[in-house]
C-alpha cells in the first residue's frame, strides 16, 4: 500500500519536523515540510501531496493566502487542506471532533495531539469531513 503524502506548511521548522516525526512513526505517512510559505506552491507541484496541513499565522504569505494560491492552481485546487491554528480555543470546537469550520475551511486548534491529526486526515480523505 502506498503511503499517504502530507505536505506540512508552518513557518516554524520545529513544528513541521515534529509533525513529520510523529506522523511518519505511525507508518503509513510520508511528510514533506515547507517553512517558507512562498515556496508552498512550488513544493506542492513537485511533491503532489494527498493532503495539506497549513498553519494560519505565517510571515509573508499566511495560511489564507496559500489556500487561495492553491485554489487558483488547476493542478492543486482539489487537494484538501486542513488549517492548524493557535488562534482559536478549544471551547470554539464542537464536542466530538476538535474542529472549527470557518469561512476558510476546517481548523484544528493547536496544541493538537497526533491522534487527532491522524483522525482528521483520515476522515478528510475518506470524505467524512
Amino acid at each position: 500500500m502506498s503511503k499517504i503524502k502530507v505536505l506540512a506548511i508552518d513557518d516554524e521548522p520545529g513544528a513541521t519536523r515534529m509533525m513529520k516525526i510523529n506522523l511518519e512513526s505511525l507508518g503509513q505517512y510520508q511528510v514533506e515540510m515547507v517553512n517558507d510559505s512562498t515556496q508552498s506552491i512550488a513544493t506542492a507541484l513537485r511533491f503532489r501531496p494527498d493532503i495539506i496541513l497549513l498553519d494560519m499565522v505565517m510571515p509573508n504569505l499566511d495560511g489564507g493566502d496559500v489556500k487561495r494560491l492553491l485554489q487558483e492552481n488547476e493542478e492543486l485546487k482539489d487537494i484538501p487542506v486542513l488549517f492548524l491554528t493557535a488562534l482559536v480555543s478549544d471551547s470554539d470546537t464542537s464536542s466530538d471532533v476538535s474542529l472549527v469550520e470557518s469561512g476558510d475551511g476546517i481548523m484544528i486548534p493547536k496544541p493538537v495531539k497526533t491522534e487527532v491529526l491522524r483522525s482528521c486526515i483520515e476522515q478528510t480523505l475518506s470524505g467524512v469531513l
Partner: protein
C-alpha cells in the same frame, strides 16, 4: 379738597371691610384679652381656610381647627403677646377641611390699645412655592441617586474593560504560547510512543508533562474566551436537550462519586444561545458542584428549569446589554448542590477571575468568570447563593425568553 380729613372720617368704617376683602392676602385679628376670639376675618382668609366669616367671628382656634393646630396657634399667639413684638413665620401649615395641606407665610402683629390687646395676622398662601420646592428637592435627590448609580455602573464598566484587556492580551499571548505548547505536546507524545521500556520514573515524568500541557492549554483557552466572545452563533436550542448533553459528558465523574442528579425540567423550553458556549457555562457550573461534593455522604445535584416572569428586584449582579426588567418573560435555570456551600466572605468574590479556593493545579479560578461573561453576553445574568434547603451552593442563571 380737604387734605386734612382721613379715610375713616370721610367714608365711615364699613369701607375698611371692603378694602380688607379685596386684599390678595388673608387678614384676621384675634382679641387677646378675650380668649383670642376672632374679631376680623377677611375674604381671602375665608378662601384659604374654607371657613366662612360668620362661623369664625366670636370663635377661637379651638372651635375651628383641630386640637393640635389650635394649640400650636395659641402658644405662638401668647408668645407674641408676651414679647410685644411682631413675628414673621415664613412657613406654617394650615389644615383645611377639603383641600390638601395649605402652606402660609404669616406675619403676626400685637396691637396694644389701653386695656385691650389685639393680635393681627396677615398670611400669604405659599402652597405652590412650597410644593414646587419640595418637588425640586425630591427631583434633586433622585438625580443624586442616579448619579451614584451612574458612578457605580462606570466602576463596573471599568472592571469589565479591565477584563476585556486581559482578554485581548491573552489572545495575543495565547498564539505565542500555544505554538510552543504544541511542540511540547507532540514531543512528549513521541517520547511516550518510542520509549517502549519505561521505568516507573519515566512513566511518571511523561504523565506529569502531559498533565502540565493540558493545564496550560486550559488556562490559555479560558483566558482567550474573554476576548473571542463576539463570535457568537446564537440559535434556538432545546434547553432540556442541552442540559442532558452536558450531563452525559459528566456521567463518568457523576457515577465515580456516586452523585445523584435530580432533573426537574420544564417541558418544551427553548433558549436562544450559542450552544457550544452555553454548554461550557453549564459544564463549568456543574463541575464546580461536583467538586464541592467530594466529601459529602449523599451527594446530590438538583437542576431545575422553568419559565417565569422576572420579579426579583433584589437579585444582584452586573447586567449588561439588554437589561431584564421586572415583568419580562424569562427562563430560569437553577443548579443546586448539597456540598459545603460558599462562605459568606467569598460570595462576592467567586466571579472574580483567578479567585479559587482550590489547590494549585485543580482550580484556576476562571470557571465562573467565563460563565458570567458568557451569560451576560446572552443578555442574562447569574447569581450564586447558598441553597435554601440543600445546604450547598445554588447557581441561578436567568435568560430573557
Amino acid at each position: 379738597m380737604d387734605a386734612g380729613g382721613d379715610f375713616s372720617e370721610k367714608f365711615g368704617l364699613k369701607h375698611y371691610q371692603s378694602i380688607l376683602d379685596n386684599l390678595p392676602v388673608a387678614v384676621f385679628a384675634k382679641d387677646a384679652t378675650d380668649e383670642f376670639r376672632f374679631l376680623l376675618w377677611n375674604k381671602k382668609q375665608e378662601t384659604i381656610s374654607t371657613i366662612p366669616r360668620q362661623r369664625a367671628l366670636g370663635r377661637t382656634d379651638y372651635d375651628l381647627f383641630s386640637q393640635e393646630s389650635a394649640q400650636y396657634f395659641r402658644e405662638m399667639d401668647e408668645k407674641i403677646v408676651r414679647s410685644g413684638k411682631p413675628l414673621e413665620i415664613p412657613e406654617e401649615i394650615l389644615e383645611t377641611g377639603d383641600r390638601d395641606e395649605v402652606y402660609l407665610h404669616t406675619y403676626k402683629i400685637p396691637i396694644f390699645d389701653h386695656d385691650r390687646t389685639i393680635l393681627v395676622g396677615i398670611s400669604e398662601d405659599v402652597t405652590e412655592t412650597v410644593t414646587n420646592r419640595k418637588a425640586l428637592q425630591k427631583a434633586s435627590r433622585t438625580i443624586q441617586a442616579k448619579e451614584q448609580e451612574i458612578e457605580k455602573t462606570q466602576l463596573q464598566l471599568i472592571q469589565i474593560a479591565k477584563l476585556e484587556s486581559i482578554g485581548q492580551l491573552a489572545a495575543g499571548v495565547a498564539h505565542e504560547v500555544k505554538n510552543p505548547l504544541n511542540l511540547i505536546l507532540q514531543g512528549v507524545e513521541y517520547l511516550d510512543r518510542t520509549i517502549t521500556e519505561k521505568d516507573e520514573n519515566t512513566a511518571f515524568v511523561i504523565e506529569e508533562m502531559n498533565h502540565a500541557i493540558t493545564r496550560a492549554t486550559k488556562i490559555i483557552n479560558e483566558l482567550v474566551d474573554f476576548s473571542t466572545s463576539s463570535r457568537f452563533d446564537k440559535r434556538e436550542c432545546d434547553l432540556a436537550g442541552l442540559l442532558d448533553g452536558v450531563l452525559l459528558m459528566l456521567r463518568h465523574d457523576c457515577s465515580r462519586l456516586d452523585v445523584q442528579i435530580d432533573r426537574d425540567f420544564a417541558e418544551g423550553l427553548t433558549v436562544h444561545v450559542d450552544q457550544a458556549k452555553f454548554e461550557q457555562v453549564i459544564l463549568n457550573v456543574v463541575i464546580n458542584a461536583i467538586h464541592a461534593l467530594r466529601d459529602v455522604a449523599q451527594p446530590r445535584v438538583a437542576i431545575t428549569t422553568r419559565k417565569s416572569t422576572y420579579s426579583d428586584e433584589r437579585s444582584e449582579g452586573v447586567r449588561t446589554g439588554k437589561q431584564i426588567r421586572i415583568g419580562d418573560p424569562i427562563v430560569e435555570i437553577e443548579i443546586g448542590d448539597n456540598g459545603a456551600g460558599i462562605s459568606p466572605e467569598h460570595l462576592d468574590k467567586v466571579f472574580d477571575p483567578f479567585f479559587t479556593t482550590k489547590p494549585t493545579g485543580v482550580g484556576t479560578g476562571l470557571g465562573l468568570s467565563v460563565v458570567r461573561k458568557i451569560v451576560e453576553l446572552h443578555d442574562g445574568f447569574i447569581t450564586i447563593t447558598n441553597h435554601p434547603t440543600l445546604a450547598g451552593a445554588m447557581v441561578k442563571i436567568v435568560l430573557p425568553e
